[in-house]
C-alpha cells in the first residue's frame, strides 16, 4: 500500500515536471543537437544542406577569421573575468562595511546593470567619440583633442573590455555581497579578539568562506564573457572592426550564418564556443569540488 502510494507520488512528480522537461528538450536540447547536425553540412539556407563530415571543423584550423576571432575572444575573456572578479570583490568588501550613505551609494553603483547592453553600447559610443567626453577626460589637460578610441586597433578592444567590466562589476558585487553576508560574524569577532588585522580577517576568514560564491562568479562571468556579442556589434563603428580587432566568436557566428550564407561554418563555430564554455565551467566546478 505504502509502495503504491510512493509510486503514485513519483508519477505525479513526473507529470508536474514534464512541461519543463519538454520545454527544455524542445528549446534547449534539440537546438544544440540540430546545431551540431548543421555543423556537419555545407548549408547556405537557400539550398539543401549537403553532408561534409567534419570538414567545417578542419577548415576552422586555418580560417584566418576564426583564428582572429578566437584570439580576440580569449583576450576579451581574460579582460572580462580576472579584473571583474578582483574589482567586484573589492567593491563588495567596501560596501560590506558600515558607513553613512552606504545604501544610496550601493544603489548608485548598481545602476549600470539596469540598462540593456545595447543601450550601454550606444551611450559609450557617444562618450568615446574621438572628440568626445572621454577624450577630454583623458587628454584635455595635455591639450589632446582627438583620441580614436573605437577606430584604433589597440584601443578598440581595450575599450570593449573596460565598458563590459564597468557594466558587469556591480552585478557581481551583489553576488559577492550575498556571499559575504553568509560569513558567520562570530568568526570575525573571535579573530578580532585575537588581534587579527582587517587584511588577515579577509584573507583567512572571508575568502575561504566565499569559495562557493567565487566559483559562481567565475562560472557566470566566464560564460558571459565567452558569449560576448552586443558590445562588439553595437559599439564599434563597424561590427567587429577596426581591422577585425573586436571580432569575437559570437559575432563571427552571425557573420557566417546570416551575412556570408555559411550556416555550416556558423554552426561549427557555435559548437566550438559551446565546447569552450563547457570545458571552462567543468574546470571551475572540478576545482571547487577538489578544494572542498
Amino acid at each position: 500500500m505504502l509502495k503504491r502510494t510512493r509510486l503514485g507520488r513519483h508519477w505525479w512528480g513526473l507529470v508536474f515536471v514534464l512541461p519543463v522537461v519538454l520545454f527544455f528538450a524542445v528549446f534547449s536540447v534539440f537546438p544544440v543537437l540540430f546545431g551540431f547536425a548543421i555543423s556537419l553540412t555545407d548549408y547556405n539556407l537557400l539550398d539543401e544542406p549537403f553532408y561534409v563530415g567534419f570538414d567545417n571543423y578542419r577548415n576552422l584550423l586555418d580560417d584566418r577569421l576564426f583564428l582572429t576571432a578566437f584570439k580576440n575572444t580569449l583576450v576579451f575573456v581574460f579582460g572580462a573575468t580576472l579584473p571583474v572578479w578582483i574589482l567586484s570583490l573589492a567593491v563588495a568588501v567596501l560596501f560590506d562595511q558600515a558607513f553613512r550613505g552606504r545604501e544610496f551609494l550601493k544603489t548608485l553603483f548598481f545602476l549600470p546593470v539596469l540598462p540593456p547592453v545595447v543601450v550601454v553600447a550606444v551611450i559609450w559610443r557617444l562618450l568615446l567619440h574621438p572628440n568626445g567626453v572621454m577624450t577630454w577626460f583623458a587628454g584635455g589637460h595635455q591639450g589632446i583633442t582627438e583620441i580614436p578610441w573605437l577606430a584604433n586597433t589597440t584601443l578598440a578592444p581595450l575599450a570593449m573590455i573596460v565598458v563590459h567590466d564597468w557594466a558587469v562589476i556591480p552585478f557581481f558585487m551583489v553576488i559577492w555581497l550575498a556571499g559575504l553576508a553568509g560569513v558567520p560574524r562570530e568568526l570575525r569577532e573571535a579573530a578580532r579578539l585575537d588581534g587579527a588585522s582587517s587584511w588577515q580577517m579577509f584573507w583567512h576568514i572571508d575568502l575561504p568562506q566565499l569559495r562557493a560564491t567565487a566559483v559562481l562568479v567565475a562560472a557566470l562571468s566566464s560564460i558571459n564573457a565567452f558569449q560576448t556579442f552586443t558590445l562588439q556589434y553595437a559599439m564599434a563603428p563597424d561590427p567587429g572592426g577596426p581591422a577585425n580587432s573586436t571580432l569575437v566568436l559570437g559575432l563571427l557566428v552571425l557573420k557566417y550564418g546570416f551575412q556570408y550564407f555559411r550556416m555550416g561554418d556558423a554552426a561549427a563555430v557555435s559548437v566550438v564556443m559551446f565546447a569552450m564554455i563547457l570545458v571552462v565551467t567543468a574546470i571551475q566546478l572540478g576545482f571547487n569540488r577538489r578544494v572542498r
Binding site: L45, L46, G143, T145, A151, N152, P237, A243, N244, Q259
Partner: protein
C-alpha cells in the same frame, strides 16, 4: 421509394456541383505573398496599388508585408530556408548573385507581364536592368535605380569663399586643397568641421564609391567574369594610396568619424558624395541649401564613370507554383507601371522615360546624367565576405598603419580564397 431515390440522387448531384464549383473557384484563386523592405513614404502607395490590383484582378489576393531594412535580408533567408519564402520580393543588386546561384529567382515571364519582347523593357529601363541580368536573361524589374553624386552645403562653401558651381573639383587630385579650404580645425589641427570625407563606416556606401574610383582608372575590386580578386595591381595601389593619404597625410577625415551622411545633414560636413536622388527631400527636411555636382574623376581616368549605380529589383520566387508565378509577374507589371506615382510620392527613381521627365530641376539632372555613365559594382556570390575583407584591409592600412604593399597582396589572396570557395560551391550545386 423511387421518388425518394430520385430526390436523394438530385441532392447528391447538387452537393457534388457545389463542391466541384467551389473547388474550381478555389483553384483559380491565387494568393501572392509580397515582401518589401521598409521605405516609409512608399508604404501607403504600395497599399493603394495592392488594393487597385486586387480590384482589377478579383482572382488574385495580395498578402503584403513590409520588413525593416536591418532584418530584411536575414528574414528573407530564413523564410526561404523554411520553405515559406514570399512569392514576390525585392532585394538589392549587391545580393542578387547569391539568389541567382541558388536558383531562387525566376526569369522574367514576358508573356505573363504582357510584354511582346525584352526590347520593351530595355527601352523602358536601359542600363537599370544591368544589375539583374545573368547569362543574358533578366530576373527582375527595378523598383529603384540609384547612383550617388556630390551634395555641397552651400552655406559652408560660401563661408569658405567658394562657389560649388565654379569651384567644385573636377578631379580627385584637386579635391584635398578644396576640402582643406572648407575644413575648420582646432588648435591641434583636428578637424572640427570637415570639408569632404568618404563614407567610411557604411560598408555599402564604401563599396559603391570606392569601387567606382578603381573603375575610373580601369580597375575593379573583383572581376565578376573570372571570379578573381583584382586588387593587387599598380593602378589599384595608387587609388588605395589616395585614400590612405586622405586620412593620414592630409588629415581631412577617416574611418574614426561618424557616418558622412549624418554629419552632412547635421551641418558638420561641407560635401558628401553618398546620397542619391532620394537625398533631395532629406536636404529640404534638414533645411540645407545645397547643390548637386558630379563626382570628381581621376586626372588619368580611362573611364568617365562617377559613383557606382545600384538598384532594388522586384523578383519572383522560382519555387512558387507556375500559376502563382504567372500571377506574380502580372502584379510586377502592374506595380512597375506605377513608377511615376512612386517617384512622386516616395522619391524612388527608376529610369523610365515618364519618371525621368519629372526630374527636371538642375540637381536631379546631375543624377540622371551621371546614371548614364555609372557602372554597377561587381555582383559575386560571397559579396558580404568580400566587402568585409576589403573593409578590414582598408582598416589595416589606414588605422593600423600597415603599408599597402604588404596588405593588398594578402587581401587579394584572401578574396581569391573566398571567391574560389563560393564558386566551387555553386558548381557543386549545379551538378
Amino acid at each position: 421509394m423511387t421518388l425518394r431515390r430520385l430526390a436523394f440522387a438530385f441532392a447528391v448531384g447538387v452537393a457534388v456541383q457545389v463542391v466541384v464549383g467551389l473547388g474550381g473557384a478555389a483553384a483559380q484563386q491565387v494568393t501572392l505573398k509580397v515582401w518589401m523592405h521598409e521605405h516609409p513614404p512608399r508604404i501607403p502607395i504600395d497599399k493603394a496599388i495592392v488594393a487597385e490590383f486586387e480590384k482589377a484582378n478579383p482572382n488574385i489576393k495580395i498578402q503584403y508585408d513590409v520588413l525593416g531594412v536591418a532584418e530584411y535580408s536575414t528574414k528573407l533567408l530564413t523564410a526561404f530556408a523554411s520553405g515559406s519564402g514570399p512569392d514576390i520580393f525585392n532585394q538589392t543588386s549587391a545580393l542578387v548573385a547569391q539568389y541567382f546561384t541558388s536558383r531562387i529567382m525566376a526569369p522574367v515571364d514576358l508573356a505573363a507581364m504582357g510584354h511582346a519582347n525584352e526590347k520593351v523593357l530595355q527601352d523602358l529601363y536601359g542600363s537599370g536592368l544591368d544589375g539583374i541580368r545573368f547569362g543574358g536573361r533578366l530576373y527582375g524589374i527595378p523598383t529603384e535605380v540609384s547612383n550617388y553624386a556630390c551634395y555641397t552645403n552651400n552655406t559652408i562653401w560660401k563661408e569658405a569663399g567658394l562657389d560649388p558651381m565654379k569651384d567644385f573639383p573636377r578631379t580627385w587630385e584637386e579635391f584635398p586643397a578644396i576640402a582643406e579650404k572648407l575644413t575648420q580645425r582646432d588648435a591641434n589641427g583636428v578637424p572640427r568641421r570637415r570639408g569632404f570625407d568618404f563614407n567610411w563606416p557604411s560598408a555599402g556606401a564604401f563599396w559603391n564609391s570606392f569601387n567606382a574610383l578603381l573603375q575610373q582608372r580601369g580597375g575593379t575590386l573583383v572581376d565578376e567574369a573570372t571570379y578573381k580578386a583584382a586588387l593587387d595591381t599598380p593602378t589599384n595601389h595608387r587609388t588605395f594610396q589616395y585614400l590612405i593619404d586622405w586620412a593620414a597625410k592630409h588629415r581631412l577625415g577617416g574611418p574614426q568619424y561618424t557616418d558622412s551622411r549624418t554629419d552632412f545633414l547635421g551641418g558638420k560636413l561641407g560635401t558628401d558624395c553618398t546620397f542619391g536622388i532620394w537625398g533631395i527631400p532629406q536636404m529640404h527636411d534638414a533645411k540645407i541649401d545645397f547643390t548637386v555636382r558630379p563626382a570628381p574623376r581621376f586626372a588619368d581616368a580611362t573611364s568617365d564613370n562617377g559613383m557606382n549605380a545600384y538598384a532594388y529589383y522586384m523578383m519572383v520566387n522560382a519555387r512558387s507554383s507556375t500559376a502563382v508565378q504567372k500571377a506574380a509577374w502580372a502584379y510586377v507589371r502592374y506595380y512597375s507601371d506605377q513608377a511615376e506615382r512612386l517617384f512622386a510620392g516616395s522619391g524612388l527613381f527608376v529610369p523610365r522615360p515618364e519618371v525621368a521627365a519629372r526630374a527636371i530641376d538642375a540637381n536631379s539632372r546631375v543624377f540622371l546624367d551621371e546614371l548614364k555613365k555609372a557602372k554597377f559594382p561587381p555582383r559575386v556570390v560571397g559579396y558580404s565576405q568580400v566587402l568585409d575583407a576589403v573593409m578590414r584591409g582598408r582598416d589595416r592600412m589606414i588605422q593600423g598603419g600597415e603599408p599597402a604593399a604588404k596588405v593588398l597582396p594578402e587581401l587579394n589572396k584572401d578574396i581569391d580564397v573566398i571567391l574560389q570557395r563560393e564558386r566551387a560551391r555553386a558548381e557543386a550545386l549545379n551538378r
